[in-house]
Amino acid sequence: MKENEQNFDELKKLLQLKRHEIPPPGYFNNFSDKVVARIKAAEADHSGPAYDRLQSHAPWLARFIAMFEAKPSVIAGFATGLCLLLVLSVVLTEKAENATLSLSANMQNPMPQGMAMASLDTQILADGGGGIQVSTNPVSLQPVANLFGQQNPLLQPASFAH
C-alpha cells in the first residue's frame, strides 16, 4: 500500500493544480443574493419547483420519480412492463368472457324451449296467412355440414310449409 501511495505522489501534485482554478475575485459577491431572490420568486408565485414540494410532502413518491431521472433504460423497462400488464389484462378479460359465454350456452343446451316456441309462432303465422309459406330460417341458420359429418344439434330447421 505504501508503495502505491508513493507511486501516486506525482499524480497528487498534478491534481493540486486544480486548487489554483478559482473564479475571479468578486465572483461570489452576488451569489447568495441570487439564490435568495430565486427562493423568494418561487415562494411569491407559489409555483416553486413541484418536485421539491413533492419531496417535502411525499418523499417516497419523490424517490420513486428520482429513480427515473436520467435513466432511459429504467423508463423503457417500466413502460414495457406497463404495456405487458395491459395486454395481459385484455387477454385475461377476453378469456374470462369466453368462459362465461360457453358456460351459459351449456346451460341452455339441454332445453331447446326457445326454439320450440319459435316453431309454434311460425306455425300460427302460417295458418293465419292463407297459404303463405313462411320460413324463419335465414340462410345462415341452415344446417351446415361440419367437418366431422355431424349436424350441429343447436341448428335445427324451422321451416314449415303447407
Binding site: 502505491n4 507511486n7 501516486f8 506525482e10 499524480l11 497528487k12 501534485k13 498534478l14 491534481l15 493540486q16 493544480l17 486544480k18 486548487r19 489554483h20 482554478e21 478559482i22 473564479p23 475571479p24 461570489f28 451569489f31 447568495s32 443574493d33 441570487k34 439564490v35 435568495v36 430565486r38 427562493i39 423568494k40 418561487a42 416553486g48 419547483p49 421539491d52 414540494r53 419531496q55 417535502s56 418523499p59 431521472e69 436520467a70 435513466k71
Partner: protein, 207 residues
C-alpha cells in the same frame, strides 16, 4: 485628558453572521431568509468548487450550485440533523451534479476558470511543468486542460472521490458520509481512479 477611543465592534450574536450553524439552520427552517443567506455565504465557495471540479465548466457549476442551495432550502423540513448541515448540503449538491452529468453524458464542454497567479509560484507546479516534461513546451494552461480532460474520462463516483480527496483535501470518512457508502469503498474507488488517471496522464508523469 481623557482620550476618546472608538468603541470596539462586538459581533452581535443575534445577527446571522454571528450565529452557529445549528442556530442558522433552525432559523432557516422557520423561513428566516437572512439566516439561510448566511448559510449560503458560508458554503457557496466549497459547494461551487466541488461542482466545478466535477463538471469542468464554471457556468454549469454556478447554475448547479444555485439549484443545490434552492433545493436544500425547500427540503430543510426533511433535514433530520443526523449529519451536519454541511454534509447534508454536500450530498444534495453531489446528487444534483451526478444526475446532471448523466444527462449530459459525452457532451463535455470545458469552460475552465483561469489558474490563479499563485500557481506560477508554486514550486511543485513549476517542477511539473518544466522538469517533468522537458521536451514539451507544456504551459500551465495546457496542463490544466489535459488534467480536466483526464478527469472527465472517469466515471462520476470515481471522479467525485478524487475531487473530494486529492483536490479538496477531505478525509475518507467525510467522503464516505457524503457518498453514503463505507470507507473501504471510498479507498478502493480512490485507488482505481488514481490508477486510471495515471494511465491517462502518463506522458506528464514520467520521471
Amino acid at each position: 485628558m481623557i482620550s476618546m477611543s472608538e468603541p470596539a465592534i462586538v459581533p452581535d450574536p443575534n445577527a446571522p453572521s454571528g450565529m452557529l450553524e445549528a442556530d442558522l439552520v433552525k432559523h432557516a427552517r422557520r423561513g428566516d431568509l437572512p439566516a439561510y443567506d448566511e448559510l449560503v455565504r458560508r458554503y457557496q465557495q466549497r459547494i461551487y468548487s466541488t461542482i466545478y471540479h466535477m463538471t469542468a465548466n464554471h457556468e454549469d457549476a454556478n447554475d448547479l450550485a444555485q439549484e443545490a442551495f434552492i433545493k436544500a432550502y425547500s427540503a430543510l423540513k426533511s433535514f433530520k440533523g443526523g449529519s451536519t448541515f454541511y454534509t447534508w448540503l454536500y450530498r444534495i449538491a453531489v446528487n444534483k451534479t451526478i444526475n446532471f452529468l448523466k444527462q449530459r453524458k459525452n457532451k463535455y464542454h470545458l469552460s475552465l476558470n483561469d489558474i490563479d497567479f499563485n500557481a506560477e509560484h508554486d514550486p511543485d507546479m513549476m517542477a511539473l511543468v518544466s522538469h517533468k516534461t522537458p521536451n514539451r513546451e507544456v504551459g500551465l494552461n495546457e496542463l490544466q486542460k489535459k488534467l480536466n480532460e483526464a478527469l472527465v474520462k472517469l466515471s462520476e463516483p470515481h471522479r467525485l472521490v478524487v475531487v473530494l480527496h486529492d483536490v479538496q483535501g477531505q478525509s475518507h470518512e467525510e467522503i464516505a458520509e457524503i457518498m453514503e457508502c463505507n470507507v473501504g469503498t471510498v479507498r478502493s474507488r480512490l485507488f482505481y481512479a488514481r490508477q486510471q488517471l495515471q494511465g491517462y496522464l502518463a506522458e506528464y508523469l514520467k520521471s
